[in-house]
């Protein structure tokens, strides 16, 4: 399964993220970025007014938040969403081996899928928090329909999750910039077979079993 690093053989490529997934990722990233950057002055009130007037910051935060689920929904639905839908199934369905790998924090053996359990967890978390932040944020925006106690709960959850998201996004960016091959695949789509053999051997095997056509059924 391993390809000798000194090989002169032409490097075969596997498509890790197709154009739809890449577009969805960067649209999602741009919205998260806008939300995080506008959240900072909104949360730490004393920064406000330094760059933009507050009501503009609020509007950016509100509309970015409302738009947040759109890239994922559009990329999942429709005939262009096959890779996206297949990856959602991958992220959902775990083997016992993957669960054990996470429990032992990466010390047990693993024939890695296209995404390792940590990456799967990141994807699930981001999916869940989009829903959580959208619902609690809407409760804060249209608060009149909720009791004061629920408003307070929504504020609490929105803030606690914001801190968690900030930590996870920082971790995600750190892992991305320290793993150049993975990083390239979210810009250009492909990874080398060599990389797949080292980091996603089960996926590589499946792709080969699917007779050369890369990551298709």
């Amino acid at each position: 399964m391993t390809v000798a690093p000194t090989t002169t053989r032409r490097v075969a490529h596997l498509m890790r993220f197709d154009r739809v997934q890449r577009t969805a990722h960067w649209a999602n990233a741009a919205l998260f970025g806008a939300l995080i950057f506008t959240a900072i002055p909104l949360y730490f009130g004393s920064f406000f007014g330094v760059v933009l007037p507050r009501h503009l910051i609020e509007q950016i935060h509100l509309w970015s938040g409302l738009a947040l689920p759109i890239p994922i929904i559009i990329s999942l639905l429709g005939p262009w969403g096959r890779s996206m839908r297949r990856d959602v199934r991958r992220v959902n369905a775990w083997t016992r081996e993957e669960i054990r790998w996470l429990q032992t924090r990466g010390r047990s053996t693993l024939e890695a899928d296209k995404f390792n359990p940590g990456q799967k967890l990141n994807a699930i978390f981001i999916g869940a928090v989009i829903l959580v932040m959208l619902v609690t944020g809407s409760m804060l925006q249209w608060f009149r329909f909720f009791s004061v106690s629920l408003r307070q709960g929504a504020t609490f959850v929105h803030d606690v999750f914001a801190f968690a998201i900030f930590a996870v996004v920082i971790g995600h960016i750190f892992m991305a910039v320290t793993h150049r091959d993975s990083l390239r695949s979210i810009f250009k789509g492909w990874v080398s077979e060599q990389w797949a053999a080292a980091h996603a051997s089960r996926w590589l095997k499946e792709s080969r079993d699917a007779e050369g056509s890369v990551d298709s059924p």
Binding site: S46, R54, H55, V88, T95, A128, R144, G153, T155, E206
Partner: protein
């Protein structure tokens, strides 16, 4: 939900769905019980711990205009006019020379955030009313702000409550610009939007004129217990 195209016979577990439901379920519990959790922590450990938690015990600064009016202490004036016997303009020193009232209260915003144990110091609004002499036909007060956008209103009876003050100290120091300094209104038994910032003028009038937030849908009488009548019998609010 094992995808048919995955060849392994190994059994798959829908971990993704479980984690998703776990995270969203936890959030739903947080919305339902977050207020109780915060109140419990605040009561059990004081506001110090609550202040360390994200989301707890923190002022969110709002401004209608997107700016803070900056007023020097020496330039500050509070103009009281309308249905009064002796219209008067108060300087900050005039206010500080009047009998001082102070108390500690929880600041509660209508949107859900709250800050416990906020210390306030200032002049009773009823003392200011007595200083100018309210005419008998007067029914309400209208408040204006240096931001030239916010307005507020109270009935005469509401304005005479013992925890409705014109505040020049907050949190043990002069009221800061972002909190509405040098002088703001503080209406303790009602939600924060009633406590107009950067107070510039009080007009004594015939009837309640809904203020900025009231014109934008908030109740004219925003009692902390959620009732919206002109009076509130709950003594714990005052």
């Amino acid at each position: 939900m094992t995808p048919p195209e995955l060849p392994e016979s190994t059994k798959r577990v829908a971990v993704g769905r479980r984690v998703f439901l776990g995270v969203t379920g936890l959030a739903a519990l947080g919305v339902a019980f977050g207020a109780s959790i915060q109140n419990f922590l605040g009561n059990a450990f004081g506001s110090g711990l609550g202040g360390l938690l994200p989301g707890g015990d923190r002022f969110r600064i709002y401004s209608i205009t997107g700016k803070y009016p900056t007023i020097k202490d020496s330039d500050y004036r509070l103009k009281v006019s309308g249905l009064v016997h002796h219209p008067k303009t108060f300087t900050l020193d005039d206010l500080k020379a009047m009998p001082m009232t102070s108390f500690t209260k929880t600041f509660q915003c209508v949107t859900g955030w709250r800050v416990p144990d906020v210390h306030w110091q200032g002049v009773l609004l009823s003392d200011i009313m007595d200083a100018v002499g309210i005419r008998p036909e007067a029914m309400a007060l209208t408040f204006e702000s240096y931001d030239r956008a916010d307005t507020e209103s109270l009935t005469i009876d509401q304005a005479r409550l013992p925890d409705v003050i014109v505040a020049y100290q907050m949190l043990g120091a002069p009221v800061t610009t972002e909190h509405g300094g040098p002088v703001r209104l503080y209406v303790a038994p009602m939600f924060g939007y009633k406590s107009l910032k950067w107070l510039s003028a009080i007009r004594v009038v015939h009837e309640v004129q809904p203020g900025f937030w009231e014109q934008n849908g908030y109740p004219v009488n925003g009692w902390l217990d959620g009732t919206t009548g002109p009076t509130n019998p709950d003594p714990s609010l005052t």
